[in-house]
């Protein structure tokens, strides 16, 4: 408790000032929401590795760093600085700099009539009723200190509303840019995406950093999938290697929904990606697809909580990890099948490639089943690049680095192939190529070549 108090002390001053000035400070419901969340955060403090959900991820570095909330951002970015982060073929690109919406940098082109893409702060000011209906209605701030902290500081982020029956063909792209500050800085982007009945859309969250410096991005997205919606969500983490990134995607699925969540974790020092769908309506389908590629001392934690709360829903989790250097990956897939969720079909697969002796993966399935007519399966594998495959490619004239890259890419392609063809997949493919090229080229790579420990390949562990 003492520890929790010390930690929250760092945030108390920031919160008092924030609460006074933030958008919607005069709205009683929002004031209460922030206060309750902050009180909850003060009660629990940051999790420790004694907490089952955080067993493999030590966040004490976040607790010990005095992060400062940047509210009145002095950073002025030019269009040119953002040029490398523009993605062709998207419906719009909203840019957030250190968590604040930057209208002058955002591109709002091709949106169908009725679709609202805006900033949360602006909507809180102009349209608070719509926000009140959904904001924090789905998120569990009691269970998760980071979600509590984000809610306490919830002010800006994206607000997207897709009206009933609307088809948004091109992706809605949200770019989160962190910039350097003289002191460690934090941001708490809060996104609210509401897709009404029978609509279809694709959303992308892309986290990048423009320059070095210790940053902590603690983001929450609530995605409300109305009945019969077909939605895709991409989370791309490619910040620099001093960045802390904690993200939570909370998906509320209605009847006969089809939601796909893709996570691609490539950057950051300590990254935790929570994906938490609740299949609340009958006949919902959820695919959670992830790829994490780590090197050096990166820590990449993928935490899934899939709740089956209605009958005849299906969920699929597929995560592939590639870890080199001293990187540490975590896959924690929790599936809860509630009492009424008969005919649930849940599947979970985690496959990992470890490229160095010092790379580490912790993979943990956790099934809690309270219904009696369900199908739940899980499996995990850990292996190395197969010596036989490497030799096969080399014996046909392909040099070792290229052969390694081909094999790594083939492994990553399993995740890529689950993404729909289009501009986002192409973008992700480029990022993956870049990451894998670095791994294949790394001096570390030479050490592992031709290791013929085929006997240990693909050891079934779950």
């Amino acid at each position: 408790m003492i520890k929790a108090t010390q930690q929250s002390g760092n945030y108390l001053e920031g919160f008092s000032e924030f609460e006074r000035l933030a958008a919607g400070h005069d709205l009683p419901w929002l004031r209460q929401l922030r206060r309750d969340a902050f009180a909850r955060f003060c009660d629990v403090g940051f999790p420790t590795t004694h907490d089952e959900d955080w067993r493999f991820t030590n966040v004490s570095a976040i607790g010990q760093t005095p992060f400062r909330l940047i509210r009145n951002d002095r950073t002025r970015l030019s269009q040119r600085e953002l040029e490398p982060y523009r993605v062709p073929g998207v419906a719009c690109q909203l840019v957030f700099v250190n968590g604040r919406f930057a209208r002058e940098l955002s591109l709002l082109n091709n949106l169908p009539a009725g679709v609202k893409v805006s900033s949360l702060a602006a909507e809180i000011a102009s349209n608070p009723g719509a926000i009140e209906t959904h904001l924090s209605r789905y998120l569990d701030v009691h269970r998760d200190a980071f979600c509590a902290l984000n809610t306490a500081f919830a002010e800006d982020g994206a607000y997207v509303h897709i009206p009933r029956g609307t088809l948004v063909e091109e992706p809605i792209y949200l770019l989160f840019v962190s910039t350097a500050d003289d002191a460690p800085s934090m941001s708490h982007p809060r996104n609210l995406i509401v897709a009404d009945e029978d609509s279809q859309a694709t959303f992308v969250e892309d986290y990048v950093s423009l320059d070095g410096g210790v940053v902590f991005c603690n983001t929450v997205t609530e995605l409300v999938a109305g009945d019969h919606t077909v939605l895709s969500h991409y989370m791309i983490e490619r910040e620099h290697k001093d960045a802390f990134n904690i993200s939570t995607l909370r998906i509320q699925q209605g009847r006969n929904t089809n939601v796909v969540s893709h996570s691609v974790l490539l950057g950051g020092a300590l990254v935790r990606n929570n994906v938490h769908p609740v299949l609340a309506g009958e006949g919902g389908e959820c695919l959670i697809n992830g790829l994490f590629i780590g090197n050096d001392h990166q820590h990449l934690d993928n935490y899934m909580l899939v709740e089956h709360a209605s009958p005849r829903c299906g969920s699929r989790q597929f995560y592939n990890g590639i870890l080199d250097g001293h990187a540490h990956g975590v896959f924690h897939g929790r599936i809860i099948v509630h009492k009424d969720a008969q005919k649930t079909d849940a599947k979970q697969t985690n496959r990992n490639l470890l490229l160095s002796d010092d790379a580490q993966i912790d993979t943990k399935p956790q099934l809690e089943i309270y219904a009696d007519d369900v199908k739940c399966t899980h499996g995990a594998t850990i292996g190395q690049i197969e010596g036989d495959a490497l030799f096969y490619l080399r014996s046909r004239g392909i040099d070792e680095v290229s052969a390694r890259k081909l094999l790594l890419f083939a492994f990553a392609s399993e995740c890529l192939d689950r993404m729909k063809q289009g501009p986002v997949r192409k973008h992700v493919e480029g990022l993956i190529h870049h990451s894998l090229f670095q791994l294949a080229e790394a001096p570390d790579a030479a050490r592992g070549n031709g290791r013929e420990d085929t006997g240990r390949n693909w050891e079934e562990i779950g």
Binding site: A389, F391, L393, R394, R396, D399, L406, A410, G450
Partner: protein, 254 residues
């Protein structure tokens, strides 16, 4: 083209090849026959430069160069091709992409322009026809879910596309039914020419009915115990390896 002198090879501290001498000239087809465990596949893999084999002594010269100093990809680029006894499945890489990458790697090594997908396709189709292979297999992952026969045909397809100077077929006949064997053998036979040498490693004589070798060598317990013409294969078919194994046992180790 290839000259092996007194080659000794160990695997896990166990001597598998105990002094091999072999000379192969361009245009020749040699068959290496022998019982299981005699070292046939080890010899093939050493020539393809698999690094897990420990060459303890001896020399291998290939077109005047020291083959034992080459990496597998260098040997391949210099024109050596081994058809694998157990072709490896590589999920996630399409057969067509793999083959084009290999061809271009070799072309680049030789200072030739890379071939793009458009130019590659017609040539590729022609080779597919030669081996009676379904074009659909080409968009599938390398060897993944292929039948045994399809895998072996795929090896010969690769050989046909890469056009090696020295091809080593490691038990390409094993597990093939007679129809598949004929197709594979015809594919190989079509590639015989005065510039190319072929080494056919096999346990049985049947393949040699279709690819008639110029020379047959019998490998027993890590040594070539007899060499001769195609008639030697027939003799083995008649009498088995038993008598030669006995001879090998009586021979005093060097």
């Amino acid at each position: 083209m290839l000259e092996i002198k007194n080659l000794h090879v160990k695997v896990d501290n166990h001597e598998i090849l105990k002094g091999i001498d072999l000379k192969v000239n361009a245009g020749e087809v040699h068959s290496i026959m022998g019982p299981n465990g005699s070292g046939k596949s080890t010899l093939a893999q050493v020539l393809a430069r698999r690094e897990t084999y420990n060459v303890t002594s001896g020399e291998v010269s290939y077109n005047g160069k020291n083959l034992l100093a080459m990496k597998p990809e260098e040997a391949a680029c210099e024109g050596i091709f081994m058809a694998f006894q157990y072709p490896v499945e590589i999920p996630g890489i399409s057969n067509a992409y793999f083959l084009r990458s290999a061809l271009n790697a070799i072309r680049k090594y030789r200072g030739l322009d890379e071939i793009d997908a458009m130019d590659f396709l017609p040539m590729f189709r022609e080779k597919l026809k030669l081996l009676d292979m379904d074009e659909k297999l080409m968009n599938r992952s390398v060897n993944e879910g292929f039948s045994g026969g399809e895998k072996k045909r795929n090896e010969i397809l690769q050989m046909a596309v890469l056009e090696p100077k020295l091809a080593i077929l490691d038990e390409t006949d094993s597990g093939l039914d007679i129809d598949a064997l004929k197709i594979v053998a015809q594919g190989v036979d079509a590639m015989r020419n005065p510039e190319r040498a072929i080494i056919v490693v096999t346990h049985y004589q049947r393949l040699l009915n279709y690819i008639v070798p110029d020379f047959v060598h019998v490998l027993v317990d890590g040594r070539i115990v007899r060499s001769g013409g195609p008639e030697l294969a027939l003799e083995l078919e008649e009498n088995g390896y038993g008598s030669m194994e006995a001879e090998a046992r009586h021979a005093t180790p060097a």
